[in-house]
Protein backbone atom coordinates (compact mmCIF):
# COMPACT_ATOMS: atom_id res chain seq x y z
CA UNK A 1 0.00 0.00 0.00
CA UNK A 2 1.78 3.12 -1.10
CA UNK A 3 2.10 6.25 1.01
CA UNK A 4 0.05 8.17 -1.57
CA UNK A 5 -2.98 6.10 -0.58
CA UNK A 6 -3.05 7.98 2.72
CA UNK A 7 -4.40 11.10 1.10
CA UNK A 8 -7.88 9.54 1.21
CA UNK A 9 -7.77 7.31 4.27
CA UNK A 10 -5.95 9.91 6.36
CA UNK A 11 -8.78 12.41 5.97
CA UNK A 12 -10.40 13.46 9.25
CA UNK A 13 -12.03 10.28 10.65
CA UNK A 14 -15.13 12.35 11.47
CA UNK A 15 -15.77 12.77 7.72
CA UNK A 16 -16.20 9.02 7.44
CA UNK A 17 -18.40 8.94 10.53
CA UNK A 18 -20.87 11.13 8.63
CA UNK A 19 -21.60 8.63 5.87
CA UNK A 20 -20.41 5.18 6.98
CA UNK A 21 -22.30 2.97 9.43
CA UNK A 22 -21.51 3.22 13.17
CA UNK A 23 -18.83 0.50 12.82
CA UNK A 24 -17.17 2.67 10.15
CA UNK A 25 -16.78 -0.29 7.83
CA UNK A 26 -15.63 1.15 4.50
CA UNK A 27 -16.41 -1.81 2.22
CA UNK A 28 -19.43 -3.70 0.93
CA UNK A 29 -22.18 -4.82 3.31
CA UNK A 30 -24.33 -7.88 2.79
CA UNK A 31 -28.05 -7.20 2.39
CA UNK A 32 -30.67 -9.89 2.86
CA UNK A 33 -33.89 -7.95 2.31
CA UNK A 34 -35.29 -4.65 1.09
CA UNK A 35 -35.49 -3.37 4.64
CA UNK A 36 -31.94 -4.24 5.76
CA UNK A 37 -30.22 -1.14 7.13
CA UNK A 38 -26.59 -0.27 6.32
CA UNK A 39 -25.49 -1.16 9.85
CA UNK A 40 -27.33 -4.50 9.73
CA UNK A 41 -25.76 -5.23 6.33
CA UNK A 42 -22.28 -4.47 7.65
CA UNK A 43 -22.75 -6.67 10.72
CA UNK A 44 -24.12 -9.43 8.52
CA UNK A 45 -21.11 -9.06 6.24
CA UNK A 46 -18.66 -9.32 9.15
CA UNK A 47 -20.38 -12.54 10.23
CA UNK A 48 -20.17 -13.76 6.63
CA UNK A 49 -16.42 -13.13 6.56
CA UNK A 50 -16.03 -15.03 9.85
CA UNK A 51 -18.01 -17.91 8.37
CA UNK A 52 -15.93 -17.99 5.19
CA UNK A 53 -12.81 -18.16 7.35
CA UNK A 54 -14.45 -20.93 9.40
CA UNK A 55 -13.70 -19.11 12.62
CA UNK A 56 -14.91 -20.88 15.74
CA UNK A 57 -13.44 -18.58 18.37
CA UNK A 58 -10.06 -17.54 19.67
CA UNK A 59 -8.21 -17.58 16.34
CA UNK A 60 -5.35 -15.20 15.50
CA UNK A 61 -6.41 -12.94 12.62
CA UNK A 62 -4.37 -10.42 10.61
CA UNK A 63 -6.38 -7.68 8.86
CA UNK A 64 -4.36 -5.99 6.11
CA UNK A 65 -5.86 -2.59 5.29
CA UNK A 66 -7.88 -2.50 8.50
CA UNK A 67 -9.53 0.88 7.99
CA UNK A 68 -11.12 2.11 11.22
CA UNK A 69 -11.02 -1.33 12.78
CA UNK A 70 -14.57 -2.63 12.18
CA UNK A 71 -13.42 -6.21 11.54
CA UNK A 72 -10.73 -6.17 14.27
CA UNK A 73 -13.22 -5.11 16.94
CA UNK A 74 -16.06 -7.33 15.69
CA UNK A 75 -13.98 -10.53 15.63
CA UNK A 76 -12.56 -9.75 19.06
CA UNK A 77 -15.97 -9.01 20.57
CA UNK A 78 -18.02 -11.71 18.86
CA UNK A 79 -15.47 -14.50 18.45
CA UNK A 80 -12.82 -13.77 21.07
CA UNK A 81 -10.26 -13.64 18.25
CA UNK A 82 -6.86 -12.06 18.76
CA UNK A 83 -6.73 -9.55 15.92
CA UNK A 84 -3.93 -7.44 14.51
CA UNK A 85 -4.63 -4.67 12.03
CA UNK A 86 -2.23 -2.87 9.73
CA UNK A 87 -2.66 0.04 7.31
CA UNK A 88 -0.42 2.97 6.39
CA UNK A 89 -2.91 5.65 7.51
CA UNK A 90 -1.83 6.99 10.92
CA UNK A 91 -5.15 8.64 11.77
CA UNK A 92 -6.95 5.32 11.42
CA UNK A 93 -4.75 3.85 14.12
CA UNK A 94 -5.32 6.71 16.55
CA UNK A 95 -9.04 6.10 16.12
CA UNK A 96 -8.74 2.32 16.57
CA UNK A 97 -6.57 2.72 19.68
CA UNK A 98 -9.29 4.92 21.18
CA UNK A 99 -12.01 2.38 20.42
CA UNK A 100 -9.93 -0.50 21.79
CA UNK A 101 -9.47 1.39 25.06
CA UNK A 102 -13.19 2.31 25.28
CA UNK A 103 -14.25 -1.28 24.71
CA UNK A 104 -11.58 -2.79 26.98
CA UNK A 105 -10.26 -4.99 24.17
CA UNK A 106 -6.57 -4.26 24.73
CA UNK A 107 -5.76 -7.91 25.37
CA UNK A 108 -7.23 -9.00 22.05
CA UNK A 109 -6.78 -6.19 19.51
CA UNK A 110 -3.49 -4.66 18.36
CA UNK A 111 -2.81 -2.40 15.42
CA UNK A 112 0.05 -0.53 13.79
CA UNK A 113 0.50 2.10 11.08
CA UNK A 114 2.71 0.34 8.56
CA UNK A 115 2.50 -0.23 4.82
CA UNK A 116 2.35 -3.85 3.72
CA UNK A 117 5.71 -3.51 2.01
CA UNK A 118 7.40 -2.74 5.35
CA UNK A 119 5.47 -5.30 7.39
CA UNK A 120 6.98 -8.73 7.93
CA UNK A 121 4.82 -11.11 9.98
CA UNK A 122 6.20 -13.97 12.02
CA UNK A 123 5.93 -17.11 9.88
CA UNK A 124 2.75 -19.10 10.49
CA UNK A 125 1.67 -16.61 13.16
CA UNK A 126 -1.96 -16.37 12.00
CA UNK A 127 -4.93 -18.68 11.54
CA UNK A 128 -6.59 -16.26 9.10
CA UNK A 129 -5.79 -13.17 7.06
CA UNK A 130 -8.36 -10.68 5.76
CA UNK A 131 -7.96 -8.08 3.00
CA UNK A 132 -11.20 -6.20 2.36
CA UNK A 133 -10.73 -3.76 -0.49
CA UNK A 134 -7.05 -3.15 0.21
CA UNK A 135 -5.12 -5.09 -2.44
CA UNK A 136 -6.32 -2.54 -5.02
CA UNK A 137 -3.82 -0.11 -3.48
CA UNK A 138 -0.91 -2.56 -3.53
CA UNK A 139 1.19 -2.70 -6.70
CA UNK A 140 3.06 -5.97 -6.06
CA UNK A 141 0.25 -8.53 -5.98
CA UNK A 142 2.50 -11.60 -6.06
CA UNK A 143 4.81 -10.32 -3.32
CA UNK A 144 1.84 -9.42 -1.13
CA UNK A 145 0.16 -12.80 -1.52
CA UNK A 146 3.45 -14.63 -0.88
CA UNK A 147 3.79 -12.62 2.34
CA UNK A 148 0.21 -13.46 3.34
CA UNK A 149 0.87 -17.14 2.78
CA UNK A 150 4.00 -17.00 4.95
CA UNK A 151 1.96 -15.34 7.69
CA UNK A 152 -0.56 -18.21 7.75
CA UNK A 153 -0.24 -21.52 9.53
CA UNK A 154 -0.83 -24.67 7.50
CA UNK A 155 -4.58 -24.85 6.88
CA UNK A 156 -4.97 -21.13 7.51
CA UNK A 157 -7.50 -19.13 5.49
CA UNK A 158 -7.41 -15.92 3.45
CA UNK A 159 -10.48 -13.78 2.71
CA UNK A 160 -9.78 -11.19 0.04
CA UNK A 161 -12.50 -8.99 -1.44
CA UNK A 162 -11.85 -6.46 -4.15
CA UNK A 163 -13.36 -4.34 -6.87
CA UNK A 164 -12.28 -5.65 -10.25
CA UNK A 165 -12.47 -4.64 -13.87
CA UNK A 166 -15.01 -7.00 -15.37
CA UNK A 167 -12.49 -8.50 -17.76
CA UNK A 168 -9.02 -7.90 -19.13
CA UNK A 169 -10.58 -6.38 -22.26
CA UNK A 170 -12.62 -3.92 -20.20
CA UNK A 171 -9.50 -2.96 -18.27
CA UNK A 172 -7.71 -2.16 -21.53
CA UNK A 173 -10.69 -0.10 -22.68
CA UNK A 174 -11.26 1.80 -19.43
CA UNK A 175 -7.98 2.07 -17.54
CA UNK A 176 -7.15 5.54 -18.84
CA UNK A 177 -10.70 6.94 -18.96
CA UNK A 178 -11.27 10.20 -17.06
CA UNK A 179 -13.53 8.46 -14.51
CA UNK A 180 -10.88 5.85 -13.70
CA UNK A 181 -8.15 8.49 -13.52
CA UNK A 182 -10.23 10.70 -11.23
CA UNK A 183 -10.85 7.87 -8.78
CA UNK A 184 -7.25 6.67 -8.93
CA UNK A 185 -5.40 9.99 -8.64
CA UNK A 186 -8.00 12.51 -7.55
CA UNK A 187 -9.43 10.49 -4.67
CA UNK A 188 -7.04 7.75 -3.60
CA UNK A 189 -3.65 8.76 -4.98
CA UNK A 190 -3.07 5.28 -6.31
CA UNK A 191 -4.93 2.10 -7.09
CA UNK A 192 -5.23 -0.47 -9.83
CA UNK A 193 -8.40 -2.41 -10.43
CA UNK A 194 -7.45 -5.87 -11.63
CA UNK A 195 -9.74 -8.40 -13.25
CA UNK A 196 -10.68 -11.33 -11.00
CA UNK A 197 -8.61 -13.62 -13.22
CA UNK A 198 -5.46 -11.76 -12.17
CA UNK A 199 -6.30 -12.09 -8.47
CA UNK A 200 -6.99 -15.81 -8.91
CA UNK A 201 -3.75 -16.25 -10.85
CA UNK A 202 -1.88 -14.41 -8.09
CA UNK A 203 -3.37 -16.64 -5.41
CA UNK A 204 -2.52 -19.75 -7.43
CA UNK A 205 1.05 -18.56 -7.98
CA UNK A 206 1.48 -17.94 -4.27
CA UNK A 207 0.46 -21.54 -3.64
CA UNK A 208 -3.04 -21.04 -2.29
CA UNK A 209 -5.90 -23.45 -2.72
CA UNK A 210 -8.95 -21.53 -4.00
CA UNK A 211 -11.97 -22.40 -1.86
CA UNK A 212 -14.65 -20.02 -3.12
CA UNK A 213 -15.42 -16.95 -5.19
CA UNK A 214 -18.46 -14.82 -4.33
CA UNK A 215 -20.03 -12.09 -6.46
CA UNK A 216 -20.80 -9.18 -4.12
CA UNK A 217 -21.42 -6.58 -6.83
CA UNK A 218 -25.09 -5.92 -6.06
CA UNK A 219 -24.31 -5.61 -2.35
CA UNK A 220 -21.61 -3.04 -3.01
CA UNK A 221 -23.94 -1.03 -5.25
CA UNK A 222 -26.54 -0.95 -2.49
CA UNK A 223 -23.91 -0.12 0.15
CA UNK A 224 -22.68 2.82 -1.92
CA UNK A 225 -26.28 3.99 -2.47
CA UNK A 226 -26.55 4.17 1.33
CA UNK A 227 -23.30 6.14 1.57
CA UNK A 228 -24.42 8.54 -1.17
CA UNK A 229 -27.70 9.12 0.70
CA UNK A 230 -25.83 9.80 3.94
CA UNK A 231 -23.40 12.19 2.24
CA UNK A 232 -26.23 14.12 0.60
CA UNK A 233 -27.94 14.44 4.00
CA UNK A 234 -24.64 15.54 5.58
CA UNK A 235 -24.51 18.42 3.10
CA UNK A 236 -21.86 20.05 1.02
CA UNK A 237 -20.15 21.71 3.98
CA UNK A 238 -18.57 18.35 4.77
CA UNK A 239 -14.89 18.60 3.75
CA UNK A 240 -14.26 16.76 0.49
CA UNK A 241 -17.94 15.83 0.07
CA UNK A 242 -18.11 16.80 -3.61
CA UNK A 243 -15.15 14.61 -4.59
CA UNK A 244 -16.41 11.75 -2.46
CA UNK A 245 -19.84 11.94 -4.08
CA UNK A 246 -18.32 12.00 -7.55
CA UNK A 247 -16.16 8.97 -6.72
CA UNK A 248 -19.12 7.01 -5.33
CA UNK A 249 -21.33 7.92 -8.29
CA UNK A 250 -18.64 6.80 -10.76
CA UNK A 251 -18.29 3.55 -8.82
CA UNK A 252 -22.02 2.87 -8.87
CA UNK A 253 -22.40 3.68 -12.60
CA UNK A 254 -19.80 1.07 -13.48
CA UNK A 255 -20.93 -2.03 -11.57
CA UNK A 256 -21.70 -4.87 -13.93
CA UNK A 257 -20.64 -2.86 -17.00
CA UNK A 258 -17.01 -2.07 -16.29
CA UNK A 259 -16.51 -3.41 -12.78
CA UNK A 260 -17.47 -6.22 -10.42
CA UNK A 261 -16.88 -6.77 -6.73
CA UNK A 262 -15.69 -10.23 -5.77
CA UNK A 263 -14.63 -12.06 -2.64
CA UNK A 264 -11.96 -14.72 -2.99
CA UNK A 265 -11.58 -17.31 -0.24
CA UNK A 266 -8.30 -19.25 -0.18
CA UNK A 267 -6.62 -21.81 2.05
CA UNK A 268 -2.98 -22.57 2.72
CA UNK A 269 -3.58 -26.20 1.94
CA UNK A 270 -2.97 -28.92 -0.63
Amino acid sequence: MSAATNQHYDLDPDVFARFLDPLRKYSAGLFDSDTTTLEQAQRRKLSFVAGQLRLLGGERVLDIGCGWGALLLFLAQEYGCRTHGISPAARQHEYIAGRVAELGLGKLVTNEAVPIEAYEPQPAAFDAVTMLGSVVHMPGLNDVLAKVRRALRRGGMLYLSESCFRSEAVRRACDDRPGTEFVRHGVFGSGDLRPLSELVAGAESAGFSIRAVHDLTDDYRRTIDCWIGNLRRAGEDLPGAADLLRYLEIANAGWGYTTKHYALVCAKAR
Binding site: A169, V170, R177, P178, G179, A253, G254, Y257
Partner: protein, 90 residues
Protein backbone atom coordinates in the same frame (compact mmCIF):
# COMPACT_ATOMS: atom_id res chain seq x y z
CA UNK B 1 -40.56 -9.41 -19.11
CA UNK B 2 -41.52 -6.61 -16.79
CA UNK B 3 -44.74 -4.66 -17.26
CA UNK B 4 -42.67 -1.57 -18.00
CA UNK B 5 -40.88 -3.44 -20.77
CA UNK B 6 -44.09 -4.74 -22.33
CA UNK B 7 -45.42 -1.22 -22.69
CA UNK B 8 -42.16 -0.07 -24.28
CA UNK B 9 -41.38 -3.03 -26.50
CA UNK B 10 -40.51 -0.97 -29.57
CA UNK B 11 -37.59 1.45 -29.48
CA UNK B 12 -39.36 4.73 -30.08
CA UNK B 13 -36.74 7.34 -31.00
CA UNK B 14 -38.56 10.03 -28.99
CA UNK B 15 -38.57 7.85 -25.85
CA UNK B 16 -34.89 7.08 -26.23
CA UNK B 17 -34.04 10.72 -26.88
CA UNK B 18 -35.96 11.59 -23.71
CA UNK B 19 -33.95 9.07 -21.65
CA UNK B 20 -30.65 10.33 -23.09
CA UNK B 21 -31.56 13.98 -22.58
CA UNK B 22 -32.70 13.41 -18.99
CA UNK B 23 -29.43 11.70 -18.03
CA UNK B 24 -27.25 14.24 -19.84
CA UNK B 25 -29.24 17.05 -18.23
CA UNK B 26 -30.11 18.61 -21.62
CA UNK B 27 -33.35 19.55 -23.36
CA UNK B 28 -34.49 16.77 -25.74
CA UNK B 29 -34.98 19.40 -28.47
CA UNK B 30 -31.21 20.04 -28.45
CA UNK B 31 -30.49 16.44 -29.46
CA UNK B 32 -30.75 15.39 -33.08
CA UNK B 33 -30.51 11.80 -34.34
CA UNK B 34 -26.90 12.34 -35.40
CA UNK B 35 -25.70 14.28 -32.31
CA UNK B 36 -22.45 12.76 -31.09
CA UNK B 37 -23.32 12.05 -27.46
CA UNK B 38 -19.73 12.56 -26.32
CA UNK B 39 -19.76 16.08 -27.76
CA UNK B 40 -22.73 17.12 -25.62
CA UNK B 41 -21.75 19.44 -22.81
CA UNK B 42 -21.79 17.56 -19.50
CA UNK B 43 -21.59 14.12 -21.16
CA UNK B 44 -18.94 11.62 -20.14
CA UNK B 45 -18.43 7.86 -20.18
CA UNK B 46 -20.12 7.55 -16.77
CA UNK B 47 -23.31 9.14 -18.08
CA UNK B 48 -23.21 6.91 -21.15
CA UNK B 49 -23.17 3.92 -18.77
CA UNK B 50 -26.15 5.37 -16.92
CA UNK B 51 -27.97 5.74 -20.23
CA UNK B 52 -27.21 2.09 -21.03
CA UNK B 53 -28.41 0.96 -17.59
CA UNK B 54 -31.66 2.92 -17.98
CA UNK B 55 -32.26 1.51 -21.48
CA UNK B 56 -31.62 -2.05 -20.29
CA UNK B 57 -34.05 -1.57 -17.43
CA UNK B 58 -36.71 0.17 -19.58
CA UNK B 59 -36.65 -2.37 -22.41
CA UNK B 60 -35.62 -5.46 -20.37
CA UNK B 61 -32.60 -6.10 -22.58
CA UNK B 62 -28.87 -6.66 -22.24
CA UNK B 63 -26.55 -4.83 -24.61
CA UNK B 64 -23.29 -6.41 -25.73
CA UNK B 65 -19.94 -4.86 -24.81
CA UNK B 66 -19.14 -3.70 -28.35
CA UNK B 67 -22.55 -2.03 -28.52
CA UNK B 68 -22.11 -0.27 -25.16
CA UNK B 69 -18.60 0.96 -25.76
CA UNK B 70 -19.22 1.92 -29.39
CA UNK B 71 -22.30 4.14 -28.91
CA UNK B 72 -21.93 7.52 -30.58
CA UNK B 73 -25.30 8.93 -31.70
CA UNK B 74 -29.00 8.70 -30.81
CA UNK B 75 -29.55 6.90 -34.12
CA UNK B 76 -27.05 4.25 -33.05
CA UNK B 77 -28.70 3.95 -29.65
CA UNK B 78 -32.09 3.34 -31.31
CA UNK B 79 -30.57 0.73 -33.65
CA UNK B 80 -28.73 -1.05 -30.83
CA UNK B 81 -31.88 -1.18 -28.68
CA UNK B 82 -33.81 -2.58 -31.64
CA UNK B 83 -31.22 -5.31 -32.19
CA UNK B 84 -31.17 -6.20 -28.50
CA UNK B 85 -34.98 -6.41 -28.40
CA UNK B 86 -34.92 -8.79 -31.37
CA UNK B 87 -32.25 -10.90 -29.64
CA UNK B 88 -33.75 -10.97 -26.17
CA UNK B 89 -37.46 -11.03 -26.99
CA UNK B 90 -37.54 -12.44 -30.52
Amino acid sequence: MTSEASTAATPVPETITGIVAAILGRDAAELTPDTDLRSVEGADSIKVLRIVAKLEQTYDIELEDDEIFGLRTIDEVVAVVGRALARDHG
